[in-house]
Symmetry: C2
Subunit: 152 residues, 2 copies
Amino acid sequence: MEVSVTVVSVSRPETTAAVTRGAARLLAALGYAPLTEVTLPNGRRADLMALGRKGEILIVEVKSSVEDFRTDAKWGEYRPYCDAFAFAVAPEFPREILPEEPGLIVADGFGGAVLREAPVVPLAGARRKALTIAFGRLAAMRAGGAEATTLE
Amino acid sequence: MEVSVTVVSVSRPETTAAVTRGAARLLAALGYAPLTEVTLPNGRRADLMALGRKGEILIVEVKSSVEDFRTDAKWGEYRPYCDAFAFAVAPEFPREILPEEPGLIVADGFGGAVLREAPVVPLAGARRKALTIAFGRLAAMRAGGAEATTLE
């Protein structure tokens, strides 16, 4: 009798896609309208940027692996463009290596949970207004089928 | 010899779709980010709502026929939700029956032209802020694949 064993290795891009999808569903369930892969005015790309009912701007950065976190730990560069910032990781990610200041979401491809609320540091009025307009314009262009990525 | 003649009758929904598409392309070329079929807080549906670079909110209402205009001439009901309002019609539409106050766009399925600029009556700050947030949220939900229609 032969036994066939298939080892499924989940690649980093697949993990990123699954965690992004699950975190986006969680944000929608929490009342936010999320947009994926938004390039900020400083050139950094946010995996998720979301707009709340009262205009709160949230950025969520997905970390697919320890290596991904270690090679790109500049999360402070997202802070000037949001009221609150959180990491989102897969359930198997070693959460103890993440900094304690940001929020923390654990997600798989189907949904997620907030393990730590993202602390709120409100944007200044002019920056918030500019970001809200840019977010709406980028989202509308994407809804219309354009492959727009940059807040501008 | 037989001659086959095909008469193509363009239906009203087809005219509406073509003019909407052409007007949306024109708005994008003018620097606006347009969203189609947006239900306003008063229940009326705007064929196009667009956000400009400085946050200007424009509503464009497509009229496919004289009958369409005559049975639904309540364009004043769009004004509380935009800085500027315009009609968009096909080239063959009898433009003389339209009121002279709003802007006027003539469009076909491929593009369009502004025949009369839409006069600007700026929204009050709080209304503008609420509409901008709602526009961005609706657009992001649509970009994410949801069939959202209502500004809220």
